[in-house]
Symmetry: C2
Subunit: 132 residues, 2 copies
């Protein structure tokens, strides 16, 4: 029996992708979640919803246009919701979906790796550039 | 006492970066390790060294130019070594360094996430594109 849930997803949702298959959409997904800004935005939203200005401060050094593009892509991928509250001026909040929250663990793993090994990578780059 | 090791690294190597600091090189490191091709190349080299053609087959669907650029960037970052064997024709092998091997765990985490949630992301994209 194929169960159709209220969200319109079906048993198809359980199909596993293959990152090594050039035709598999997993590659596009990889592109999105490995992106530096995705890593920083998802991490910033760990504690709950934020407004655009709060997110911009939390991420640090992100151009508004780039942040807008990142948020839109994450919304399109079902990782984030954008809620407009009917106030004057309108309040807009960004919040991770349940799916988006599941990204915290893998994203923390690559962020931790980058922070822990940053110095080694910087030194390797300097050595490489000295040699060529 | 600052210990200088045979590899030319110093106590400085233990300094931890901060991904949320716009001036910290951690951001450049994040850019590199989150890259789709990095994820696929590092995963392909998990079992030991490979030649360019073997790597190209293992990764699947990568343009030679893009693979060359990815390999060079990984070499520059100290994650990979390129060894030329004096044979006719010369044999060239790519192998992860010790530092590169430490990437396997975080990279597997994001590859697994992408493979497991690929269908949900694809469905979310289709819904989003239907609505706008």
């Amino acid at each position: 029996m194929v169960t159709i849930t209220a969200r319109g997803t079906s048993a198809h949702s359980n199909e596993r992708g293959d990152a090594y298959d050039p035709k598999c959409p997993t590659r596009h997904v990889l592109d999105r979640i490995g992106d530096k800004w995705t890593v920083l935005v998802v991490g910033s939203l760990r504690g709950g919803p934020l407004r655009f200005t709060q997110l911009r401060l939390a991420v640090g050094g992100v151009a508004p246009k780039v942040l807008t593009q990142t948020l839109r892509a994450l919304e399109r991928d079902g990782l984030l919701t954008r809620t407009v509250f009917a106030e004057v001026p309108p309040r807009v909040e960004y919040e991770l979906t349940e799916l988006g929250q599941t990204l915290q663990t893998p994203i923390a793993a690559i962020r931790d790796w980058a922070e822990l090994h940053m110095s080694q990578v910087v030194e390797a780059r300097a050595r490489y550039d000295d040699e060529i």
